[in-house]
Symmetry: C2
């Protein structure tokens, strides 16, 4: 079965207050599913950003294009809508958006 | 009972794809509650924007400060976190954010 980006989540508890990073260049809303899974739905505007991780994360790109470098991987890898990458726990990743915006679903792996 | 801004919504269906307006200066995520009520959770960055309405809307400001003029009201009125305004159906409102960002919960009145 080919991979499909998530379209929606049902039976979720959604926090009204957004998460704003880098002066609003990255915006997300947090939600918790019935099974306790935590996710954020986010938008990244042009720029280069570094995010630290506590739990491991699965980042699914659902719109736009970006380049990503996970921790001390050698090179930058391009991602677009319909692709995803994993980031280990207690690590970090860098993401660069050249133009427009990128949207993602981030799943926190317990 | 004094008015309290909404903090979270439970048992909601949340669309992953964000709504982006004015080149990303206004970002929102849409959700539908179990009773069919439709809402958006939004962030407004500095600027002056006009939004048309189909259904009537209740706009609850949950963070930041802004000025608002609803349709052909005479003056601009200041709103901050913990306040709200109504917009009639088939109408419009203008919202201005001077600095930082403003966050809102928009409820569409069926």
């Amino acid at each position: 079965m080919t991979y499909q980006s998530p379209q929606e989540f049902s039976a979720a508890t959604v926090a009204c207050k957004a998460n704003l990073y880098f002066d609003g260049q990255v915006v997300s809303h947090s939600l918790t599913l019935v099974n306790g899974e935590k996710k954020t739905l986010g938008v990244v505007f042009p720029g280069l950003y570094r995010f630290e991780t506590n739990a491991a994360e699965k980042m699914e790109i659902i719109a736009g294009q970006c380049k990503v470098k996970v921790a001390d991987q050698d090179g930058w890898i391009g991602f677009e809508a319909g692709t995803w990458f994993d980031v280990p726990a207690k690590s970090y990743f860098e993401i660069e958006v050249m133009d427009g915006s990128v949207e993602y679903v981030c799943s926190y792996i317990a």
